[in-house]
């Protein structure tokens, strides 16, 4: 017998004569206290994000590239990591090419092993999309893909994320349900609520622990 069989054997023995507890899942409790009128969802998300130092700006499907450029200029950042084959990556690259904005675009287009050092030490900012947002907790839902890999939202000190207002739902229960997560999850899915932080030294909150020091969310109101 191996360890698995021995452990399972013990557990089964202990359950003999008992019946499994039935699932009386309380949807109402997870849903009702965390619902918002459609017109207030985005405001709630922004307020919750703001409370944990997450910055957000209202924007539009055509206006956001300019706001990205302005945000970078304000911070004196001259380069940006993008996912070149995503629609928003393409849109931004086109915008930069058309306007001649003085910005070096870096594409995440090869395995991380080939450029780890650059990603970790010479990539000041990144731009990603999101699957949506959750108003109750002020969370972004990230669903990394081969086109837009996991580390884009983690390693660069400034992470900019695009969020479609129509994809902001009330709470996690609604989001999981609407997107049918139970049917299958990607290799990695994330909820991100603000820039990285820690209170490990004398309960004093400090931002920029190991992940991004800044999170800037651009909310596309017309999408």
């Amino acid at each position: 017998m191996n360890a698995k069989e021995r452990i399972l054997g013990k557990l089964r023995g202990s359950l003999q004569g008992t019946t499994p507890i039935v699932d009386d899942y309380d949807i109402e409790l997870l849903n009702e206290p965390w619902r918002y009128p459609p017109a207030e969802r985005v405001a709630r998300l922004r307020q919750m994000l703001g409370a944990v130092h997450g910055e957000s700006q209202l924007s539009s499907t055509t206006g956001w590239p300019m706001q990205v450029i302005e945000a970078l200029a304000q911070r004196n950042i001259g380069e940006l990591l993008i996912a070149p084959t995503t629609p928003h990556g393409q849109q931004f690259a086109d915008f930069v090419a058309r306007t001649g904005a003085p910005l070096r675009l870096k594409a995440y287009d090869r395995p991380v092993e080939e450029w780890k050092d650059e990603l970790f030490f010479r990539t000041p900012a990144s731009l990603t999309g999101t699957l949506g947002g959750i108003a109750a907790t002020g969370s972004l839902v990230l669903w990394p893909t081969p086109q837009e890999p996991r580390l884009m939202s983690l390693v660069p000190p400034l992470h900019m994320a695009l969020l479609k207002a129509s994809e902001v739902l009330d709470n996690l229960y609604q989001f999981m349900h609407a997107h049918r997560w139970a049917d299958g999850m990607p290799t990695n899915a994330l909820l991100v609520s603000g820039p990285s932080k820690t209170a490990d030294i004398q309960q004093t909150l400090a931002y920029g622990a190991h992940g991004p020091k800044e999170l800037l969310v651009l909310i596309l109101e017309d999408a």
């Binding site: 996991r150 899915a189 400090a206």
Partner: protein, 479 residues
């Protein structure tokens, strides 16, 4: 005192450890401040008492349901994870778990491991085990990094360095990392960030814990604020997650109430910065993520707790730390005095299953039974009842059947058993009772002035000159 790192305390020396801790004013100030802070934060997250109570009841049912079909769910988890490409390993003991991790380390000729926060790896003393075999384990959670630099163990399951203040961390970084002395917390965190950053991508293996393992989808869910957990599970080519067999839940949606209870109870946050859901290694077309993901499922005494319907509730625990934050004993003696990986109330009810009651005999009695832990526990573990139950197991005759807890009878004493038997006889026989009281009051001058530890800090009780019965009879007779 608290600035000298000494050999880790042992649970068997609990009383001495506690005395030492109580004599350390710096330590007590640090804990008092930290616990007040954490209690306030939690309270602010639950403005609606009804919602809290309903959610606790719900959390309790979700955990109880998972445990009521634990073997089935563990098999489902194993099958789903395997289908997703995760390698699942099972270990009955910490030695087995360490050997499994070491085998993976050897397969990859790994020299360097970066760790996200994992209490189960503390249970395994993985750093020590691998260190002895020439493998470096570096802790990457800021708090864990700090206690590792001090060669200490975590003082709290959520906030490992909670026993230290900024000045102590400043001195530590100055001494160990050769940076300028600064008490500026932002600066200290940046020093930690810079020191650890290179290690994330130099590491051959990342190790993490698991908050919830979801059977339905084969998903490992981790919560954190710093991003070191994401780093440890995403950057190195191999990720090893270690967790206890009780961490499994049935369905993905089951994590919604538990997640809400966990982050609100633990640190008073509506949600942590990151909720990281891992369902498999990097796919062929993906550009990052580990090539290999392993899960080690550890028993280490959990199946013993599971065997008894009452003690099984210990395994509901979602490791939020609220019970210790609200514990008057923990607040006064701190986390190290327990000498166990899990301190405070949860430590007192779970460690006897891991180490046996003989090694932990003083833990179940290190409680004033005030009940605060049971009241705040988000999954409604009746901690005080379980403490009482463990006290009973500790004084049952060592050989008495059935045996529920290893080390049964660790505090058994023939003399004490006789005394209690005599006490029972005395109290169930009116004639004997009256005679004894009469003797007690008439011979009260013979009461010794010193009666064991009772008189260390108190004067000895002195029986009254006449019994209450006598006085009452006289009083009624007057009317």
């Amino acid at each position: 005192m608290s600035d000298v790192a000494h050999a880790p305390a042992q649970p068997i020396a609990f009383k001495r450890n506690a005395r030492e801790a109580l004599a350390d004013p710096q330590l007590r100030r640090n804990f008092r401040g930290a616990m007040d802070f954490l209690m306030d934060k939690r309270r602010s997250q639950f403005p609606d008492g009804d919602e809290l109570e309903r959610l606790r009841a719900f959390g309790n049912r979700v955990r109880a349901r998972a445990l009521s079909k634990l073997p089935e769910l563990l098999e489902r988890l194993d099958a789903r994870l395997s289908r997703n490409g995760v390698k699942v390993h099972w270990a009955e003991t910490v030695d087995e778990a360490n050997a499994i991790v070491h085998r993976i380390v050897e397969q990859h000729a790994a020299k360097k491991i970066i760790k996200g926060k994992s209490m189960v790896s503390e249970e395994m003393e993985m750093n020590h085990y691998l260190g002895d075999r020439g493998v470096d384990c570096l802790e990457s959670d800021m708090g864990e990094f700090i206690v590792q630099l001090r060669a200490e163990k975590p003082a709290h399951i959520i906030m490992p360095a909670i026993h230290l203040n900024a000045g102590q961390v400043a001195q530590l970084f100055h001494d160990k990392l050769e940076v300028d002395y600064t008490e500026d917390v932002d600066r200290l965190i940046q020093i930690g960030r810079e020191t650890l950053r290179r290690n994330f991508f130099e590491a051959d293996i990342g190790v993490s814990g698991v908050n919830f393992a979801i059977a339905e989808t084969g998903t490992l869910l981790l919560v954190e604020n710093e991003g070191n957990g994401r780093m440890s599970t995403t950057v190195p080519p191999v990720h090893i997650a270690v967790t206890g067999i009780e961490k499994v839940v049935e369905n993905l949606r089951d994590v919604i109430p538990l997640l809400s209870l966990l982050t609100r109870s633990a640190t008073g946050q509506a949600i942590t910065t990151y909720v990281n859901m891992i369902s498999g290694p990097r796919k062929a077309d993906e550009l990052d993520g580990p090539q290999e993901v392993h899960l080690v499922l550890l028993d280490n005494g959990r199946s013993q707790a599971f065997a008894d319907g009452e003690l099984r509730q210990t395994l509901n625990c979602i490791r939020c730390g609220a019970c210790m934050n609200h514990c008057p004993v923990y607040t006064r003696i701190g986390g190290h005095a327990y000498g166990t990986v899990y301190p405070g109330p949860i430590g007192k009810i779970v460690t006897p299953h891991m180490l046996g009651l003989d090694a932990t005999r003083d833990l179940p009695t290190a409680s004033s039974m005030c009940g605060a832990c049971g009241e705040v526990c988000p999954v409604k573990i009746p901690i005080p009842s379980l403490l009482r139950r463990l006290r009973e197991e500790a004084v049952r005759a060592p050989a008495a059947a059935p045996q529920h807890v290893r080390g049964q009878g660790a505090k058994y004493s023939r003399k004490e058993t006789m005394v209690w038997k005599a006490w029972r006889t005395l109290n169930t026989s009116p004639a004997l009772y009256r005679a004894a009281l009469y003797a007690g009051t008439r011979l009260r001058a013979l009461m010794p002035a010193h009666i064991g530890p009772w008189t260390d800090h108190r004067s000895a009780p002195k029986p009254a000159a006449r019994t209450l019965h006598e006085l009452a009879r006289e009083h009624l007779g007057d009317q």
